[in-house]
């Protein structure tokens, strides 16, 4: 949770206490990088706070560890209808509901409208068009490239789904990361650099997130993938002095359709909570459509309620609506306790493939093997 989100949330908490003078809320902000381990430590000893904002991958993990209270009997059927299925999905584990979705996100195609217009190109809808458009926008002599990808496996996942691969089937525990579709995806990813030359030839895995943003903001890269969290920073760039120059649309379709990883956060109630009804009243309040709209417009987050997207301030927000368009066809990551750790083994193997140390098949076989060990527990 960043500084601005904390401010917005503090305001909501004040409002809740004013409406419910008999309830007192004590909020504690923990840096995101420490939150998971800190929560586990206190929850393990039975001293967890009543309510916690858990990253989507932590939710099944905490549920498995017995740290959460199921909320099936508290969440109304209207609410269940209102929540976006992909965001709600991350709260469903082992047949029960363990939280309610606070915010959601996904990767989408962000593009520089001016650059595309000058090249006479429309935003690509298929992977073939991605190559064609990106080629038109590439001029290596000027350091200008049509597209930019990262040595981070999260950025590869849209291609995995678009080419018919997948990560892990959460129902039967089967690993699909080295299926033919997944291998096609990685081969295409590498071909974007080696065959089509539309991404920069040199890699810099430690800095490529920053380099991607700087290059996009200065008009060196015409198209990138990124999430709603990055839009405030992008709009501060010289190319986007006019915010209308930023295009947000779906990541192009591959042979097997669309792909984009859904992320986000949930509100959960812990098993140490003595008064679940009051705790639920509180998170339900925070999650009202108008409050989600507030968080969305002030902090560039995506609401999880359909009704929040219809509120005027969100409906008029072109960027949020662009991401919503992507969300309609985005993919859930496996809802398993190990979900957050998949990329830990995946990314080094992707980098080995990008550096030519492993073939795509070898890299994904190694990933599958590491995931097998991860799942055996």
């Amino acid at each position: 949770m960043n500084q601005e989100e904390t401010v917005t949330l503090d305001g909501l908490i004040e409002k809740f206490m004013a409406e419910n003078p008999e309830i007192e809320i004590q909020a504690q902000v923990v840096p995101f990088s420490d939150a998971q381990n800190k929560f586990k430590t206190v929850a393990q000893a039975g001293d967890a706070p009543d309510v916690f904002r858990a990253e989507i991958a932590w939710t099944p993990e905490f549920a498995e560890l017995g740290f959460l209270t199921p909320l099936d009997e508290y969440v109304s059927s209207q609410d269940l209808q209102d929540y976006l299925p992909s965001a709600l999905r991350y709260n469903q584990y082992k047949g029960r509901l363990w939280g309610i979705p606070q915010v959601t996100d996904c990767l989408a195609l962000l593009y520089n409208k001016r650059m595309l217009r000058q090249a006479g190109a429309e935003p690509p809808v298929t992977m073939e068009q991605l190559i064609r458009v990106a080629r038109k926008l590439t001029n290596p002599g000027e350091g200008q490239f049509g597209f930019f990808w990262r040595g981070d496996s999260y950025w590869l996942t849209p291609f995995i789904w678009a080419y018919g691969g997948s990560l892990i089937d959460e129902d039967d525990g089967q690993i699909h990361i080295n299926d033919p579709g997944s291998v096609d995806a990685l081969e295409f990813y590498i071909a974007l650099r080696d065959e089509y030359g539309v991404v920069p030839p040199e890699v810099d895995f430690a800095n490529d997130y920053e380099n991607m943003l700087v290059g996009f903001k200065t008009g060196k890269y015409a198209m990138i993938f990124n999430g709603p969290w990055a839009t405030a920073d992008i709009l501060s760039g010289e190319e986007f002095a006019d915010p209308a120059n930023l295009g947000v649309t779906r990541i192009p379709q591959g042979p097997a359709g669309y792909g984009s990883p859904v992320g986000g956060h949930n509100y959960v109630i812990t098993s140490s909570c003595q008064d679940v009804l009051t705790a639920y009243k509180f998170i339900h309040f925070l999650n009202r459509a108008e409050h989600q709209a507030l968080l969305a417009t002030e902090n560039n987050l995506l609401p999880t309620r359909r009704s929040a997207y219809d509120l005027p301030q969100v409906a008029d927000n072109r960027i949020i609506q662009g991401f919503r368009y992507q969300l309609e066809v985005a993919n859930n990551r496996p809802v398993i306790p190990e979900g957050g750790l998949l990329f830990v083994d995946f990314t080094p193997n992707l980098q080995a493939a990008l550096n030519g140390k492993k073939t795509p098949q070898e890299a994904l076989d190694a990933t599958a093997q590491a995931w097998g060990q991860l799942l055996e527990r």
Partner: protein
């Protein structure tokens, strides 16, 4: 003489060290022994037990050790750790010694130089590590911009298997030489001036003085400092984690960073303590032989 009688005879002495001994037992020996025991179990976050779930971990004998020691990746990373440690300590020592020798002479503004040379040590590690990470940036970093003006590059500093190791070592050399410099300077200043005067009378040259007086008399200090340096560098987590995160594809991982990913991300305590015990054993046996090897040549003067 039984132990009991020894204790009785020096009752006061033992009484005085009792509080320290108890604290040591509580914060060092007890966790150490418990750690060793856990390394023979399959303890992880799911079976360790909590307020809500009873513990269900089991003893698995040497399984964790076999798993770690039989993986080829472990030995690759052990090799990287050795390269990392030896190269770093070598440069820490040589640069530190050269600067200490310079600062030991009477020169104008010595205090100022000494202060400036301590800067790498005084800056918090994460600030300098992030600065170096940016210096090595392939597009906007100082090194590649400098190479570009010379018509060279660009080099993928942090993503090339060899250059990435060069980059993290360079960062850590910069961070680590001030400690060696300060310790060796202290050692140099404790060498009696009379030694040099006497040798001058005997007609010794500068180089001879260095080889026969400075180096031998610096040895006790240098030995302790390098031993500490080796242990610290071997376990240096921050620099690698902050500059390359062990990448590309584990090429700059050392045992300390690798064990962190392998074991702590999911609270696999059995594996985590196995790594800890292995690292501890490596360092203990190294220290033992290091001290013994150097002891043989001590007390020349």
């Amino acid at each position: 003489l039984s132990l009991f009688r020894v204790i009785r005879r020096q009752r006061l002495a033992y009484l005085l060290i009792l509080p320290t001994a108890l604290v040591m037992a509580g914060i060092v020996f007890f966790p150490l022994i418990r750690g060793v025991i856990i390394s023979f179990t399959d303890m992880n976050q799911y079976n360790m037990g909590s307020k809500f779930i009873a513990p269900a971990y089991r003893f698995v004998g040497l399984r964790n050790y076999i798993r770690v020691l039989s993986s080829s990746q472990f030995w690759d990373i052990f090799g990287q750790t050795a390269i990392w440690t030896v190269t770093n300590v070598f440069f820490h020592f040589t640069i530190g010694l050269a600067l200490a020798l310079l600062l030991n002479r009477r020169l104008r503004g010595r205090a100022l130089y000494r202060m400036l040379l301590l800067i790498p040590w005084a800056v918090p590690t994460y600030i300098s590590a992030f600065s170096w990470r940016w210096l090595f940036n392939s597009k906007y970093g100082f090194f590649n911009l400098a190479l570009k003006t010379l018509g060279l590059g660009p080099v993928s500093w942090l993503s090339h298997e060899v250059w990435a190791m060069v980059a993290v070592i360079a960062t850590n050399v910069w961070l680590g030489f001030p400690f060696m410099m300060v310790v060796l300077l202290g050692g140099l200043q404790s060498i009696p001036k009379e030694m040099y005067e006497a040798s001058e009378v005997d007609g010794c040259g500068r180089i001879r003085q260095f080889a026969t007086i400075t180096l031998p008399l610096l040895k006790p200090v240098a030995m302790t400092a390098t031993l500490l340096g080796i242990i610290w560098t071997f376990n240096m987590f921050n620099v690698i984690y902050l500059v390359t995160e062990g990448g590309p594809h584990h090429q700059t991982d050392i045992l300390a960073t690798f064990a962190f990913i392998e074991a702590f991300h999911q609270w696999r305590f059995g594996m985590a303590t196995t790594y800890a015990v292995i690292i501890l054993s490596i360092l203990l046996s190294f220290s033992f032989f290091y001290i013994r090897a150097l002891k043989g040549t001590e007390e020349i003067y």
